[in-house]
């Protein structure tokens, strides 16, 4: 199960935080800082997985942004690694070449994209065509 999804830039600014467990606000802040400290020191030759408390982080870096998914230790690493990429491709298509600023100015839309693809800590929909079609319908609505 996914415990949370974080998108952070290299400086540690959070661009998306989606929590699938109930954390207190100060605990959230702590997790955000720890994850940032954990992934930014790793280089490209390292694995895309890193143990984190009693969970693990599966992450991938895209330009200046780190996409991190925290999952249970026995979850399938590669499946979540590609879930990240699938998500990024959807964002890229939806925002026409997504950049960090898109995520800042349209933060409320990013949540919609997440809800289409991940719900209750599980993968909900994996077809990019289906997700984008739904998102296009939603944007055309008042």
């Amino acid at each position: 199960m996914i415990r949370f999804i974080l998108i952070q830039n290299r400086a540690g600014k959070t661009r998306l935080a989606k929590w699938f467990m109930n954390f207190h606000d100060d605990e959230k802040q702590k997790l955000i800082e720890e994850v940032h400290a954990l992934v930014t020191v790793r280089d490209a030759k390292h694995t895309n997985f890193v143990e984190f408390r009693n969970f693990k982080i599966v992450y991938r870096r895209y330009a200046g942004l780190y996409f991190c998914i925290c999952v249970d230790v026995n979850d399938n690493n590669l499946a979540y690694l590609e879930a990240i990429h699938n998500f990024v491709e959807v964002l890229n298509e939806f925002f026409h070449n997504v950049c960090e600023l898109d995520l800042v100015f349209n933060f409320y839309k990013v949540y919609s994209v997440v809800d289409e693809m991940f719900l209750a800590g599980e993968i909900r929909e994996t077809s990019q065509i289906k997700v984008l079609k739904q998102l296009t319908t939603l944007t055309s609505l008042e």
Partner: protein, 916 residues
């Protein structure tokens, strides 16, 4: 006005981004907050768009890390808007900010209900997504009908079904007892696996997986459907599922989820299903050998995601040796792959394969590659996996080499993994020691090269081993003496060396190179460099020297009299110096010899090192008691670690000369224990544990492992032959006399009739609990040893609590149920004296281990324990509640148990009353 045109919001975000300092940002935010507050207060005619915009700004401010204490009502108002964009912002605000607020809960629930009942699938979806994000007990109760109806109704849109499935999953996780799923829906839920829409199937598998974990029997039908769905996907071509093909791999995520679902069950019994599943797994392994269809890493990742999950299933089934060996070969190839991810995952999976008897040997073939990984990998986490694998693949045949390699690596190993490596080396070298002088060499080297990482448990253990094995004591004294001669010697070495010389220094005193005076001077040369704790230990050694070597007594008395000891600022040193000195002055040599006698062997059961190794990392836990326990922690225990205990049990019998066993056997304890009392005390231990030794004498040892799901307990019994000859005509039977016959149904596999010398055989079986019971079954074992018939009868420690399942509930629920169980025979209360120190955590652990829950915050008195459980019998579930009240002044406990079935409370009381 269109949804993406909130210009005011964009301007505000730009302003914030342009702020040069934190103060400027704060000013801008405060200005905005004042503005919004005014708008909300003054302008009653705010239209939906305005409200949406302001609520969205508040959300943005909250996400920047500021508290938001108003605007909640406006957000909730947005929910009743009939415009999507306004509704969406309303729901988002609630999901992100108000997830724990209760004030407007009823209003929110009412709005969600309206949307769930709307005809607009987009509104239904928004409401479902909101519940999936923040659903709690109240929502579970409120929507216990609406959401399942949406899930199984024929006219629901696919997208809504997907959300409904995961929404149910959320409610199931947060409050499964409030969510009443009608059993008539089971078949229809399972059939979602067959849904034409792959997205629906993808979402549904996650739900079914959770329901299966709760009630495997009810959902057993999902196995066939999962296998056939999987089979259709893996045998298809990637062009068959356009929408769901990801880089030439058909529906990889669905495949992974299906393969995980199947890991909840044993291999399918139906031969046709089983062979179909085996074909799937075979196909997946074959595909891994095909040339890649794309150079993109996405392609190989997706393919390998499925492959690794298939391997997990193969390992879980642990019965098809050909698949296991093929899996191992495939992983062997990955060990050489240029992708770090693959090497890492291959090492991780191989660890599991090493635990299977079918593939253990195949894993060992890769020993050299793994050792190389240890030396050459750049990522410490990969090296860590290599260490884990070496540990898992270690057995008698390769222990010496592997320990040597690990020691060599330890010198340059990362600080983060040194302590764990030290533990692993210590465990392996002890477990597989053929020759204890080798063990001691390894341990002293370990202290020498990684002294800082040698925890107390490790060096204590070295001393325990030496104390318990007379044959290595003089060797130990010799090498400890040599080790102390090194110019810079780690303090842990001084401790071990000091202790050993104090006990066994006399064994090397005849050697002119290590006369008493030389030993004493050597040790004393370290004395002043050590911490007070170590000095205390050395003072004890000196005292022991007085007994071993009366000729140096006055030297030692002088040291004790010295101001730095006799008047030390450290209380403990001062006390020891004073007392030891006085002791040496007033006692005659005979009394002194008695006081300072050699230490008796340690009576000890399990290596504390294994316990230490299993200690967890800091945990991440959600707040609120309703959140389900992180599955991760539970599942890791099911993985490699559980097999570790199995190995431990296994090897106890196989390696009779191994230390773990020799410490266990009563003979070496010094004081002989009657085997009957031995098994009766440990029989009670099985109350709280899932594995134990249940019988042992000089000929055989019987170990048990049990794991229950609902009313079925799966049992593994290990019969170990401790002798040097064959045990023939071996038979073991469990009898259920009297009432037990109708209460328990046993089903054990046949066992071999011969056990080889120093070997063990395993028997598996199941015990079904039909109704509650009080007596213990009896176990009869008979065999021929040296042509003598041996018969053993003893009580088989199967207690009712093995069928208890934890029940979680809040205070209201607890007391409501408590009050309902008020018939005289439903309650049993006893007051009894404490047998153990009254430590809160110990009690809590025992209650948890007993099988029922220990609920926090139920009783007004925080010292008291309350909890609940369900005894699963196949005829009826029996609810039971308890309350344990310690009285620390009086050193007494009062235990009250209530159960829905009469008499059961009494039985549980009998089990527990002498356990605290």
């Amino acid at each position: 006005m269109r949804g993406d045109a909130m210009r005011g919001l964009a301007v505000f975000i730009s302003d914030i981004r342009n702020c040069k300092s934190r103060e400027a940002e704060l000013r801008r935010i405060n200005k905005e907050l004042t503005n919004i507050r005014q708008r909300f207060r003054a302008d009653k005619t705010l239209d939906g768009y305005q409200k949406k915009k302001y609520v969205c700004k508040l959300l943005f401010i909250f996400l920047l890390g500021h508290d938001i204490d108003f605007g909640y009502m406006e957000a909730v108002n947005l929910l009743s808007s009939n415009k999507y964009t306004e509704k969406q912002i309303g729901y988002l605000f609630i999901s992100v900010i108000m997830n724990s607020s209760t004030e407007m809960k009823q209003l929110i629930i009412q709005n969600i209900r309206n949307d769930l009942q709307s005809r607009n699938p987009i509104f239904i979806n928004l409401a479902l997504q909101c519940v999936a994000n923040i659903g709690d007990r109240e929502m579970a109760i409120a929507f216990t009908n609406d959401i399942p109806r949406l899930l199984i109704s024929g006219d629901t849109l696919d997208a809504v079904k997907q959300s409904a499935a995961l929404c149910l999953l959320r409610l199931h996780r947060t409050s499964s007892d409030s969510l009443q799923l009608n059993t008539e829906w089971t078949a229809r839920i399972i059939h979602l696996l067959n849904d034409q829409h792959l997205g629906v199937a993808t979402a549904a598998v996650s739900l079914i997986d959770a329901l299966v974990k709760r009630n495997p029997d009810e959902y057993r039908g999902c196995v066939n459907l999962a296998v056939s769905r999987l089979s259709r996907i893996v045998t298809s071509s990637y062009t068959d599922f356009q929408d769901y093909t990801y880089y030439f791999v058909p529906a990889p995520w669905l495949c992974v989820k299906l393969l995980r679902l199947l890991q909840n069950y044993p291999p399918p019994e139906d031969p046709s299903v089983r062979s179909r599943l085996n074909e799937c797994l075979d196909t997946i392994l074959n595909k891994a050998q095909e040339p890649l269809k794309s150079k993109k890493v996405q392609h190989s990742n997706a393919r390998n995601a499925v492959l690794f999950e298939a391997i997990n299933l193969i390992i879980h089934m642990d019965c098809e040796s050909s698949l296991l060996v093929r899996a191992c070969n495939q992983l062997g190839q990955f060990l050489q792959n240029r992708e770090t991810n693959l090497r890492y995952l291959a090492l991780e999976s191989m660890c599991l394969l090493a635990a299977s008897e079918f593939s253990h040997e195949a894993v060992k073939k890769h020993q050299e590659t793994v050792i190389n990984a240890l030396k050459s990998e750049r990522d410490v986490s990969v090296r860590q996996r290599a260490v884990d694998l070496l540990y898992a693949m270690c057995d008698r045949s390769n222990a010496q080499d592997l320990v040597q390699e690990m020691l060599a690596y330890l010198e340059t190993a990362d600080y983060t993994i040194r302590e764990e490596m030290v533990l692993k080396i210590a465990i392996l070298s002890e477990k597989y020691a053929v020759d204890y002088s080798w063990y001691l060499d390894v341990m002293l080297k370990l202290i020498r090269i990684a002294g800082d990482f040698v925890s107390e448990e490790v060096w204590y253990r070295v001393i325990q081993v030496v104390v318990n094995r007379t044959d290595v004591q003089s060797y130990a004294a010799k090498i400890a003496f040599e080790a102390l001669q090194a110019p810079a010697c780690h303090e842990n070495m001084v401790k071990v060396g000091g202790y050993i010389l104090g006990e066994y220094g006399n064994l090397i005193a005849l050697d002119p190179r290590s006369t008493p005076m030389i030993q004493f001077n050597l040790l004393h040369s370290k004395y002043h460099l050590c911490s007070p704790a170590t000095r205390c230990l050395i003072l004890s050694t000196y005292m022991k020297f007085m007994n071993l070597f009366p000729e140096i007594k006055h030297h030692i008395q002088e040291i004790l009299r010295h101001d730095s000891n006799y008047r030390s600022s450290d209380v403990e040193i001062q006390q020891r110096a004073t007392e030891y000195l006085r002791l040496s002055e007033i006692c005659n040599p005979t009394v002194l010899a008695t006081i300072l006698e050699i230490m008796p062997p340690y009576p000890e059961k399990q290596s504390p090192l294994l316990v230490r190794l299993k200690q967890k990392k800091p945990l991440m836990e959600a707040n609120g008691a309703t959140e389900s326990q992180p599955a991760a922690s539970g599942n890791t225990d099911d993985g490699p670690k559980l097999t570790e205990t199995a190995i431990h049990l296994n090897q106890q019998a196989q390696h009779q000369n191994g230390l773990l066993v020799s410490l266990d056997t009563p003979e070496s304890n010094g004081h002989h224990e009657e085997s009957t009392s031995h098994h009766s005390s440990s029989a009670k231990k099985f109350l709280f544990k899932n594995s134990d030794i249940i019988f042992e004498n000089e000929l055989i040892q019987v170990g048990i492992k049990g794991e229950s799901t609902k009313s079925t307990l799966r049992i593994e019994l290990y019969y170990g032959n401790k002798t040097n000859s064959h045990l023939t005509h071996f038979s073991a039977d469990i009898f259920t006399p009297g009432d037990l016959q109708t209460a328990l149904r046993m089903n054990f596999d046949p066992i071999k009739s011969t056990i080889d010398p120093k070997a063990q055989i395993k028997q598996t079986g199941t015990i079904d609990c039909i109704k509650d019971f009080a007596e213990l079954p009896t176990m009869n074992i008979s065999f021929l040893h040296n042509n003598m018939l041996q018969k053993i009868d003893y009580a088989f420690p199967l207690y009712l609590n093995k069928f208890i399942e934890k029940a979680e509930m809040d205070s209201n629920n607890f007391f409501l149920r408590w009050r309902n169980l008020d018939k005289p025979n439903q309650e049993c209360q006893k007051i009894f004296p404490a047998k153990f120190p009254m430590v809160y955590n110990d009690c809590n652990q025992k209650l948890e281990d007993f099988g029922w829950s220990s609920l926090v915050g139920i009783d007004v008195n925080a010292e008291n324990f309350c909890g609940a459980g369900i005894i699963n019998t196949s005829t009826q579930p029996i609810g039971c509640l308890y309350r344990l009240e310690p009285n620390k002044q009086a050193k007494m406990y009062r235990l009250t148990i209530r159960s829905s079935k009469e008499g059961v409370a009494n039985r549980l009381m009998e089990l527990l009353e002498d356990q605290f």
